[in-house]
């Protein structure tokens, strides 16, 4: 490592500056690339059609969460009998469904439709039941793996 006074003349200083510039440039280009190659540990995995959509801690018992699975809203419900996942879009006119915690039913705020956790229509105008998804809970994470 040359001492500063050794490179005080202009030509060597420019060379030293150029060298430093090269190192900085290598760092500028190399750091994002290196960061890219080491995936973060706290991110959800994508494995086949088995996609992690939520953590078990996010959904207490009796509650639900609307997640996006392959760009489609899905209602994931933590029922006493286990996890259920059904389509989050009402089959009547397409409104988003909500989980009625008090009645423990799926409800549509538009025209008072209600469904059970199996997606079957309990009352209201919907003409068809909701599609159901296969749910797996592994290591505290909730995975959806396609239709049931």
């Amino acid at each position: 490592m040359p001492l500063f006074k050794d490179i005080l003349n202009r030509r060597d200083f420019i060379d030293w500056l150029g060298g430093a510039g090269f190192f900085v440039s290598a760092w500028i280009i190399g750091k994002p690339l290196l960061k890219f190659l080491f995936p973060p540990s706290n991110v959800m995995e994508i494995g086949g059609s088995k996609i992690a959509v939520a953590k078990l801690d996010d959904i207490p018992e009796g509650r639900s969460k609307t997640v996006l699975y392959k760009n489609v809203p899905v209602l994931v419900i933590n029922t006493r009998a286990g996890m259920a996942a059904i389509s989050g879009v009402c089959t009547h006119l397409g409104c988003y469904l909500v989980w009625d915690y008090l009645k423990q039913q799926v409800a549509c705020p538009c025209h008072l439709a209600s469904f059970n956790t199996k997606g079957e229509v309990l009352s209201g105008p919907p003409p068809a039941p909701l599609s159901r998804y296969n749910v797996e809970v592994v290591n505290g994470k909730i995975y959806l793996t396609g239709f049931l």
């Binding site: 440039s25 500028i28 996006l68 988003y96």
Partner: protein
């Protein structure tokens, strides 16, 4: 010679009969002269099932002369308006006859008790009878889009009489219903968009039993579709008050025929453009009730603003090239809960409305946070870019300097070799 003339006439008529269409198999004398009516009739649903002229008009179709239309043969001629309902009911109230077509058989019974039916019995022949809405000879099923009784055509059919000022003068009821309905949210959906889900005249007034709903029944009529609003109205202080004071429930604020989309302005206005009244139309501005209205307005505005800010920020992030699917999902959830706020306000309870608004705001704020993080990253990216470009520029300048030096000195080495 007269006999010859008549024989010639019969042969001529026979030839014509074979050429013209018949209402049923075999020779049908009505259609020889009344061929224009026959061309209308052949398109009707009655002709499809094999009903013939005689079912309604009597007479003898096998008779090729004018005696086919004699009283002796049961000929009724043009049916008078007063007898039309009963004539139609001959078949349409006959259970055995109509069962095969899966048709209702209560139209006549209902019609008798309707305003139209009652007035007809009193001798008023200006009111509507079956043929006014269903046509006479070219009757089609009400589910056929070409029928005047088809849902999307009904408003115009009713308006034929009910918008005619001169015709309706003696009844002293308004004639502006169709005009108002055309501008209303229901009318626009039905007449302009062809939306079958929105109500036309019969959905609120009944079809054959056409009667304006009683004042205390309005919430049940509107509530058939607007069920959440109805549920909330039932537990609000408005319900009892309106029953006691005989106020027209839904119609007093939202109008009836001219109903528009309800906006937040209803709370703070006196008159609404839908023909109804706002809160200030009945309550004084200094009253406790108006204070409740202001509180509701504040809560709704908070929730609405939160969602609008979230939507705007998400749009900004999307324009910068970020993926915004998660945010859009949450915004849709927030909007879904916000959808309920309008119906829930009918309860007039600030607590219930606040609960709804809070759920909206939680989701909207989540979205705002997610997008703000993205926008911060956007700023970081640009800052890093500027720094990187500066470093690159310095290196390029240094390299250019070295290049100039090499070009000047290099020739010495090159000449040497």
């Amino acid at each position: 010679m007269r006999g010859l003339g008549i024989k010639a006439l019969i042969i001529l008529i026979l030839i014509l009969a074979i050429k013209t269409g018949s209402a049923s198999a075999g020779i049908y004398s009505c259609t020889i002269c009344h061929s224009n009516i026959n061309s209308q009739y052949s398109k009707s649903v009655h002709s499809e099932i094999g009903t013939t002229c005689t079912e309604c008009h009597g007479g003898d179709p096998s008779d090729l002369t004018f005696s086919a239309m004699s009283r002796a043969k049961g000929y009724k001629g043009k049916i008078s308006r007063a007898s039309i309902p009963l004539l139609c009911a001959k078949c349409h109230s006959d259970v055995k006859m109509m069962l095969q077509y899966r048709e209702y058989v209560d139209e006549y019974a209902i019609y008798r008790d309707s305003e139209h039916g009652k007035k007809l019995r009193q001798g008023d022949y200006k009111v509507a009878v079956c043929t006014d809405c269903h046509n006479t000879h070219d009757i089609k099923k009400a589910s056929d889009p070409n029928s005047p009784a088809y849902k999307l055509n009904v408003p115009k059919t009713c308006a034929r009489c009910h918008s005619d000022k001169k015709y309706m003068e003696q009844y002293k009821i308004p004639t502006n219903q169709f005009e108002k309905y055309k501008e209303s949210v229901h009318g626009r959906h039905v007449l302009e968009q062809g939306d079958m889900r929105a109500p036309a005249c019969p959905d609120c007034h009944g079809t054959h039993g056409a009667t304006p709903p009683g004042v205390k029944d309005i919430h049940n009529v509107c509530g058939r579709c607007h069920s959440v609003q109805r549920e909330n109205l039932l537990r609000s202080p408005h319900f009892e008050a309106m029953k006691n004071k005989k106020i027209k429930e839904c119609a007093v604020c939202h109008g009836s025929h001219g109903v528009q989309e309800a906006t937040i302005a209803l709370f703070t206005s006196e008159k609404a453009e839908n023909g109804g009244k706002g809160c200030l139309g009945c309550h004084k501005a200094s009253s406790v009730e108006y204070g409740v209205a202001l509180e509701l307005v504040k809560t709704i505005k908070e929730a609405d603003d939160a969602v609008n800010i979230a939507t705007r920020l998400t749009q900004k992030a999307r324009e910068k090239g970020f993926d915004t699917d998660e945010e859009m999902n949450k915004i849709n959830i927030a909007k879904t809960i916000l959808l309920e706020i309008g119906p829930v306000t009918h309860s007039l309870s600030p607590d219930i409305v606040k609960e709804n608004a809070e759920n909206v705001i939680i989701n909207a704020v989540d979205v705002q946070d997610m997008v703000k993080a993205k926008l911060v990253e956007w700023r970081d990216r640009r800052v890093t870019l500027v720094i990187n470009i500066l470093v690159f520029l310095i290196v390029i300048v240094l390299l250019a300097v070295k290049r100039r030096r090499m070009m000047k000195n290099g020739s010495k080495d090159m000449d040497k070799q």
